[in-house]
């Protein structure tokens, strides 16, 4: 069974600075997808970024980028120029396509951006 581990329960960063959230996963599959979801206080789950395992290039979405290390099974999220609106819970998630299509989530990292 796949597992996802987020080792940082809480983190904080100053506005305009850069922060990196860690995620590791365990799988025997070679083809899979990885995701970062953001959950602000409104509770809505928002997809931030995704990575396909067969793609070598790290995904980027504006201020958000990932460092995907397939051999190490690591998938960290870097947030540049942090903004107050980035304050949220961040969840790393894994999906193995072709099966149940379910997401396996880590326990989350609570990020606080301080002014």
């Amino acid at each position: 069974a796949q597992t996802v581990t987020q080792s940082q329960p809480e983190m904080s960063v100053q506005e305009a600075e850069t922060v990196t959230l860690s995620c590791t996963y365990d799988t025997s599959e070679s083809n899979y997808y990885l995701f970062w979801y953001k959950q602000p206080p409104s509770r809505q789950m928002i997809l931030v970024i995704r990575q396909e395992a067969y793609k070598q290039q790290n995904a980027t979405e504006n201020r958000f980028s990932v460092n995907f290390q397939k051999a190490a099974k690591s998938f960290s999220l870097k947030i540049s120029d942090s903004q107050l609106g980035d304050t949220a819970m961040y969840f790393c998630a894994f999906m193995n396509p072709g099966g149940s299509e379910k997401l396996v989530f880590g326990k989350g990292t609570k990020l606080t951006v301080n002014p």
């Binding site: 997808y33 995701f35 409104s42 509770r43 809505q44 789950m45 997809l47 995704r50 969840f91 999906m95 396509p97 072709g98 149940s100 299509e101 379910k102 997401l103 396996v104 989530f105 880590g106 326990k107 989350g108």
Partner: protein
């Protein structure tokens, strides 16, 4: 409204009562999912459905029942609510197909309290 909706948004019930949480999506997505979110656990899969009339258990199915007679609806029933089922429940859906984006779209969540 287009998208994925859940009702009710908040529910308080008593131990032993039957409760049904509703989920409706307008995209005709094949896959639908129910997750529960608890502090310290992230999101865990309760049940999922690959198509109408096809459902399967997830990680924490005990005490829950689902049905899917129509593609757009996926109700979750707690047959006899227990305090341990106090949680936030999220419904999600995604399209099928290898060429799809593989993004799961989440509803706004239902906060259920069992007294």
């Amino acid at each position: 409204d287009a998208g994925i909706t859940q009702s009710p948004r908040y529910k308080i019930t008593e131990t032993g009562r039957q409760v049904t949480l509703m989920c409706h999506q307008t995209w005709s997505h094949s896959y639908m999912f129910w997750y529960r979110q608890d502090l310290g656990h992230g999101l865990r899969l309760i049940y999922y459905s690959a198509a109408a009339d096809i459902t399967d258990k997830g990680e924490v199915p005990d005490g829950y029942v689902v049905s899917r007679s129509k593609t757009e609806n996926f109700p979750l029933t707690l047959e006899s609510a227990t305090r341990s089922q106090t949680s936030v429940y999220f419904c999600a859906s995604r399209a099928s197909g290898r060429g799809s984006y593989n993004e799961q779209f989440f509803g706004p969540g239902t906060r259920l309290t069992v007294l």
